[in-house]
Symmetry: C2
Amino acid sequence: MTDETRETMFAPLFAAGWTLTDGRDAITKTYQFANFIDAFGFMTRAAIWAEKWNHHPEWTNIYKTVVVTLTTHDAGGLSALDAKLGDKLDKLAGGTIG
Amino acid sequence: MTDETRETMFAPLFAAGWTLTDGRDAITKTYQFANFIDAFGFMTRAAIWAEKWNHHPEWTNIYKTVVVTLTTHDAGGLSALDAKLGDKLDKLAGGTIG
């Protein structure tokens, strides 16, 4: 992927709070929820989408915080799948019907 | 907690593959599952126990791997709650009825 393609493809996610991951061709976002139930509820919905699409996040949960990193191992870096999953995660986190 | 108390309380977990976390008064274990569904299924069962006991893990999931760190923030380090949750996680990961 060229830098220009990447910039275009991920512009909406960068505008939504995603950033390039330090030292990797990946994107990262930190979500904060009201409590653990909301945080893990988000992860549960996201997990089913991830499995359905066979594209899985790297993620860390500490109580009401979830830090997500997306990259495409098979592609050696970012791909259109990451843009698609990132957008889905934002919708799930916002309560939009997934 | 004295070093002796800690050693006694966590001896069964150390024997089961838990180790002291670098630079923290915490314990860590890495679980490997057959696939993402098994890994996240383990997390889902563990999440409900964690919420029920009001004691939550710090954990990272990458596909079929789950890395768990346990500590008791209110106690500023390890407590009996961590021993209890660590034992529960091992039972859940092993398929023992939780």
